[in-house]
Symmetry: C2
Subunit: 327 residues, 2 copies
Amino acid sequence: MIRIGILGYGNLGRGVECAVRQNDDMELAAVFTRRDPADVKILTEGVPVCRIEDAEQWQDRIDVMILCGGSATDLPEQTPKFAEMFNVIDSFDTHARIPEHYANVDAAAKKSGKVGIISVGWDPGMFSLNRLYANAILPDGKDYTFWGKGVSQGHSDAIRRVEGVRDAKQYTIPVESALEAVRNGENPDLTTRQKHTRECFVVLEEGADAAKVEEEIKTMPNYFSDYDTTVHFISEDELKRDHSGIPHGGFVLRSGRTGWDGENSHLIEYSLKLDSNPEFTSSVLAAYARAAYRLSQEGVSGCRTVFDIAPAYLSAKSGEELRKTML
Amino acid sequence: MIRIGILGYGNLGRGVECAVRQNDDMELAAVFTRRDPADVKILTEGVPVCRIEDAEQWQDRIDVMILCGGSATDLPEQTPKFAEMFNVIDSFDTHARIPEHYANVDAAAKKSGKVGIISVGWDPGMFSLNRLYANAILPDGKDYTFWGKGVSQGHSDAIRRVEGVRDAKQYTIPVESALEAVRNGENPDLTTRQKHTRECFVVLEEGADAAKVEEEIKTMPNYFSDYDTTVHFISEDELKRDHSGIPHGGFVLRSGRTGWDGENSHLIEYSLKLDSNPEFTSSVLAAYARAAYRLSQEGVSGCRTVFDIAPAYLSAKSGEELRKTML
C-alpha cells in the first residue's frame, strides 16, 4: 500500500481524499492543515487530521505527500520545504514561474534523496503532455489550446472585487466556429477575442447600479476587455441553484503536415469535459503519486514533471498486464 | 545527427523517409530492400539503396534501424534478428501476439546491448498511451475505441478475394450516435454493429453478377456479417479518382466518475484525423527513433513499448526548453 499524506484540505485536498479511495493500492495516512485540526472534518473514517507543523513527525509513515495548496503563495514555499522530508507532488500552475519552481524543488529533493513531481493536473499536466507528444510527432504544424466551457476562479474573483457585486461566477467558453476552423485544417491565426467568450453570472448588492457594474466588468483590462463578455444579473438563490459546480475542460489540438512536400494533413485532438475541475486534478495527482513512490523505490531523486515520467509508472498494473490489455 | 536506416521501402518506408526529412536532428543513412536495389528509386538524393543482406555491414553507420515491414510475417522475424545488430523500432500491430514479440525482441536486444521499441504507431501506439493515461487517472470508468473514418487494408483485401471483384476499397466508419452517447456520459454497452458501419467501393470484373458479389461481401463472416455494410459499384476510373488515398483515424474515449460517491462525471477524449495512415505512423516511428537513440546513449538495452518511455525522450528540445514552452 502506498501511504498518502494530504497537505491542505480545500477542494483539491478533498478531491485527493476521494481519489485515494478509488485506488486499491493507496491508503490515506493523514491530512495536514493550517487550521485548527479540531475544526476540520474529513470524509475518511479513522484518519487523523494534524497540524501542518507536526508533518515532520510523519516521515516514516507517509510515502508521498500531496500538496494541495495554491500556486500564488503556498506551493512556491511548501513544495521545496516538504521535499526536504517527503516525496512530494504538487499542481503548481503558474506557467511563467515553472522553471524557477522546478529549480527550487530539484535542489531540495536532490539534497534529501526524495522525488518531487511538480505541475501535475490537466493544464499544466495532461494538456502539456499532449502538446509534447503532438509536437514530437508532427514537427511541421500548429498548436491550439482552448479552455472551457468552465468556471475560471480567477475571473470570478475579479468580478467579486467590483463595487456593488455580492457574488459572481464566470464561465470561459471556447468559440465553436474557431474550433471548427482548426478541426478543418484551416490553420487560422486567432486573436484572443476569436478563441473564447466570457459569460458572467452576477449577484448585485442591494441598490447597486447594474449598468455601471456591467460596464466595469466588460472593460476590465487583462480579464475581460479583450473578450466578448456577456453579463447576466441573477439572484443569490439562482447562483446557488444553477452555478455551484466547478466544471471545466478544454481542447488541445495540433494540425500538421507530412509527406515529401507536406501534401498530407493530420489533426491530433485531445479534450476534457470535467464535472469537477478540482476532483479531476486530484485524480491526476493520485496517479502521479504512484509514479513518485515507484521512482523513489528505484532510488531516483530530484524534481520531475509529467514530461519525465514513463506512462507505465502511473498504472497499478504490471508491464506485462499493460502490454496484454492496453497496447 | 541521428543516423536512420529504413528497412523495407513500401508506404511505411517512404513515410519514414519523409518524416526524417522533417526532423532537423536526423539524417537518412541508407534504405534496405529485399528487391533488387537497382529497381528501387527513393526520394532522398545521395542516399544508397542496399540489399537487406548487406545491412550488417552498416552497424557503425546507423544509430537506429526503422523496420517498415508487415506484422503478419516480416516483423516477427526481422525485429528480433535486427535487434542483434541495431537499435530497432517497429510498428508491430497484431495485438494478440505482442507479448510473444516483446519477449523475442527483449531477449535479442539484451544480448546485443541494443534498444528495441515495438508496436509504435497510433493503434498500437498513441491510442494505447491514451488508454493507459485515462485508466490511471479515472480508475472508475469505461473505455471506448472507435476507428475511422478510414481505409481498412485488411477488409479491402478481403473484398478483392471475392469472385467477380477486380478492385475494392473499404471504409470503416464510426457510428455518430454511438460516439455521441459516449460523449454524453451514457456509458452505453455497444455491440459491434452499433459502433461501426462498413462502406465498400467495388469495381467488378466484366460480366460479374453484382447482386451475388454484394451478397457475398455482406455475409462474409468476421469481416462484414456483424456490421451494417453498404456496397457501391463504381468504375475503375472512379476508384482511382476518388479512393486512392489512405486516410484513417479514430477516437479513444474514457468516461469515468470521481467524488466520494462517484457523483461527478468526466470525459477524456483523444482523436486523430489522418490524411495518410502510413505517413502518420511513420511520423510516430521517427519520434520514437529519437527516444531509442537517447536510451541507447544512456546505456539502456532490451525491449520497450510506448508505455515505458518518458515523453521528453521524443522531443528534440531540452528538458529546460520543454518546461518553459510546453508545460
